[in-house]
Structures are given as C-alpha cells and as structure tokens.
C-alpha cells in the first residue's frame, strides 16, 4: 500500500492531518521538519505523496523539496505544500522545485481527500 508522509514542525497540524488521513483509510507517516522528512522519504520507497509545511526549523519545506528532486531524482513522489505562506514568489519557487500543488492553511480535509487519494495511488 502506498504511503503519505506529513511533514510539519507543529504537532497540532501533524495530528490533525495524519489523523484525518488515517481515519479515511490511508497509510500515513509523519516527520517533524524537512531534514526528518528527507530521511524518512529515503528510507521508505513506498511513500507516494508528501504533504509539507514551508517554514520549519533545521530544514524548511522548499529546501527539502529541492533536495528530494536533487538527491532522489528518480523518485516520482508527488509533493503538496500545506502552509500559511501564500506569496506568489514562494509558490513560484515551489513550482520550480517540482511541487505539485499548494494549500494555504487551515487544512480542510474533505476538500482535498479525493485528490490526495489519486496522488498517493
């Protein structure tokens, strides 16, 4: 079964997003920052979708995306940013790095569940 990785330094957001996805039958792992997310993605080839915050300590979300595309060039993982950031410049940076989509918090699970299923499939 394909897995979804939720990367956020806020335990509140990790609980909310991962809890919602698990409740809807999806297999989910979590990471506390970009460095942790990159390590878990390298260790788990079954991860097909990453949902990540942008502003995090140790390694921010967009740096993590750039490293995924650089160090795991063969991976086909889809990456969605879930963040309070909404600036066009930030979105452009994400797009250039290979981000598939952007969600401005707060998380509204029902609105994105089916798309997440497809991207994780």
């Amino acid at each position: 079964m394909s897995k979804i990785l939720v990367v956020d330094d806020s335990s509140t957001v990790r609980d909310e997003v991962a809890g919602f996805l698990k409740k809807n039958g999806l297999d989910v792992d979590t990471a506390v920052d970009g460095r942790d997310g990159l390590a878990k993605l390298k260790a788990s080839p079954g991860i097909k979708l990453v949902i990540s915050d942008v502003n995090m300590p140790n390694m921010d979300g967009l740096t993590m995306v750039e490293k995924i595309r650089g160090e795991l060039a063969n991976t086909s993982v889809n990456i969605i940013m879930l963040t309070t950031e909404s600036s066009p410049a930030m979105k452009e940076r994400g797009k250039a790095a290979g981000v598939k989509g952007w969600i401005v918090k707060p998380f509204k699970g029902d609105a994105v569940l089916e798309t997440f299923r497809k991207l994780a499939g």
Binding site: T84, S87, K95, W102, V104, K105
Partner: protein
Amino acid sequence: MISDNAKGSIDGIFRKAAQSRLVLAAGDTCEIAAIPTNDAGLIPEAQVVVLTISSILFRLMLMLQFDEGADTRDYFFAEGSASTVQEIFSEQANLCCGAMNQELLRYFPDLGMSTPYVLNAHCIAHLEDLKPAYLASYAVTVNQAARIKATVCVCTHAPLDFVADLSALEESCGELELF
C-alpha cells in the same frame, strides 16, 4: 510615520483574521473589543505567542495571550489530542497571523512571516520602547467563553500609507491549487 488609512487598514485586517482564524467552527461567535495595551488585568501572568511579519517598509508583531483557564482550554483543546496546550495556541496564532500576512501580501509583495515563538507576557509593557507607529490591543471572546488578548504592534522604516479593500477579503484557504 503611518497614515490614518494604514492604521484603519491594519485594524480591519486584524479583525477579519481573528474572526476567521480564532474560531474553530464557522458558526462560532467572535467578539472583538479594543482595550488599552497596558491592561494587564484581562489575562494576567500569561505567556504570549508572538509572530512577526516583516517587509522593507515595516515590521508587524502579532501577540496573542490565550487565557489559560478552563473555558479557553476546553474550546481549543480537542479531546484525545497529543499536542500540548502551548502547541495548540501557537498553531492557532500561526493561522491568525497567516491570514493577516495573506491579506497584506495584496499591498506589499516582499513580506516574510516568522514561525510562532513564546515569551512572557510582561514584554508587552515594553512595546512602547520600540516607538511603534501603530499599537493596538483587543479583547477577543469566542463563543462567550474562550478569551484571548491580542496586540498588534507596527514599527515603520519609511512612511506607510495604504487602504485595504476589506470587502475584497476572500476565503481562499484550504483549497488545493495544482500546478
């Protein structure tokens, strides 16, 4: 220096952000009343969650003191949550500041927003030392139970004048924008 238009716009942007992000459900009530910044009696001895929005022209600080009493905890703390109260308050403040940031981006494209950090609320008494161009505090009451003291402090590096079109505020959060 800050114009009256800019002051009114910042006030309106805060109120709109609070009404949409400091409530958990769409039908919840949110009352916002202006109060003196030095009114320490509303929520005494609390910690304060601080976020900053910075641009070339100004730095805005949003400071939220969540009442640590049962009514406020019960409102924000979901049963079974593994998060601490402080983590939940910090994320709520992050959402509120994020909404302000989203609105300010319409007028200032160079903004950067911090992550939340927690300070002792006594620091609010020293905000005047920063010689802010704008300083305002609010008592926020959600569902007539949960209480939050909010303070917005803006320090300018250049003249600041803009008019926020508050009628144009859109609820665009939560939607997936695919690239």
